[in-house]
């Protein structure tokens, strides 16, 4: 039967809408993540040393899966411990810092258990770690969450038995723009000073203190050419190399 519009005349032929094809494979490849410990530090050491180290790192990654994670993710790490029950020790916490380069790359997990704040530094490539699970994918506004030590303990408490929050592969990692409230001063470091450049704290200090902290700002550092270290080209080379090796 032909469609009749309100005028009584037959309606113009409308072709069906084209199906929208979302190529998930392409989107996944487009989002490149190279773990920061692969990027060699700036220095005068022979690049061959980093090449050999990278080969060892890739060997370890083939045997043991190290997931992609950033500072602010909630991880659960099981390590082999001769003194623990069932020889395995599980710790859940928020990643507050990622340091070290090459095989000595570390990350620090923090959690508050029974009112006591605990931080553990784990080595990514240590044979003692048996499993790293990402429970919640969530980036924060800063690269370094050391200020959580001086924040109210509610911001560092995470349930030890929390279920992993599902995350689709192709979606972008959400950024949590949480502004953390701090304990009263004194803090372990003067986080209001511009050298730390922290955006994730809700400073409830008087305006006078904030202005006084700006006295220590060094605006010329941004333009210092000797401190520049452009890693984009190095990253691309290493990314290709690492991908080829992992696919073998």
């Amino acid at each position: 039967s032909c469609r009749i519009s309100s005028d009584g005349k037959p309606a113009k032929f409308q072709p069906p809408p084209k199906p929208i094809i979302i190529d998930r494979q392409k989107q996944r490849e487009e989002r490149r993540f190279l773990s920061p410990e692969f990027i060699p530090p700036r220095g005068r050491t022979d690049p061959h040393k980093f090449y050999i180290e990278r080969k060892d790192m890739i060997q370890r990654r083939k045997v043991f899966n190290i997931p992609e994670f950033y500072v602010g993710h909630i991880l659960a790490v099981t390590t082999a411990d001769p003194y623990a029950n069932e020889k395995a020790n599980r710790f859940v916490g928020i990643c507050i810092q990622r340091g070290g380069k090459g095989l000595g790359a570390t990350f620090v997990l923090r959690n508050v258990i029974e009112g006591q704040g605990v931080e553990i530094r784990y080595e990514l490539y240590s044979p003692r770690v048996q499993a790293i699970e990402v429970l919640k994918l969530e980036k924060r506004l800063d690269d370094n969450l050391m200020y959580l030590r001086d924040a109210l303990p509610e911001y560092s408490t995470f349930d030890v038995n929390m279920k992993p929050v599902s995350h689709l592969d192709h979606e972008e990692i959400p950024v949590n723009k949480l502004q953390v409230r701090m304990k009263p001063k004194p803090w372990s470091k003067r986080w209001e000073r511009p050298k730390y450049n922290i955006k994730g704290i809700k400073f409830e200090l008087p305006e006078k203190k904030m202005k006084e902290a700006q006295k220590w700002s060094q605006p010329w550092l941004e333009f210092d050419m000797l401190r520049e270290y452009d890693t984009s080209k190095i990253e691309e080379k290493i990314w290709k190399e690492v991908n080829e090796e992992l696919k073998k």
């Binding site: 390590t79 258990i113 006591q116 931080e119 003692r128 372990s188």
Partner: protein
């Protein structure tokens, strides 16, 4: 505490008593302080015994956690934790709620009674 970066435990460090003993939990106008570390170096780490001055009395104690970062894979606590102990190694309290590092299990012989009253391990 008011001091800045606190390292491992030595003489005159203020500590936090973690068990549920009466000596450790009754309030006093002075915090419990370390007056001697039973160690060749004067620095106490996890598993060392120290002498504590609490409420005008001297008492031995066992260090179960400090603010100083130790070897990787070991926990670092936000306060210097200590468990009150007798001269023969018997703990005075009956329960320890705060988490204790697994490293102490290495010296099961000396600390078996303390580990028996501990609830959580890290």
């Amino acid at each position: 505490s008011i001091t800045g970066a606190c390292r491992a435990i030595q003489k005159l460090t203020r500590v936090r008593v973690v068990d549920n003993s009466a000596l450790g939990n009754t309030p006093y106008h002075r915090p419990p302080k370390c007056i001697h570390v039973y160690n060749k170096t004067g620095v106490g780490k996890v598993g060392d015994t120290i002498l504590l001055a609490i409420k005008g009395e001297k008492k031995k104690a066992l260090i179960v956690g400090h603010k100083m970062p130790g070897p990787p894979m070991t926990p670092r606590f936000d306060s210097n934790n200590v468990v009150l102990i007798e001269d023969n190694g018997n703990p005075i309290g009956t329960r320890i709620k705060t988490p204790i590092p697994y490293i102490l299990r290495q010296r099961e012989g000396e600390f078996s009674k303390v580990l028996a009253i501990a609830r959580n391990f890290v």
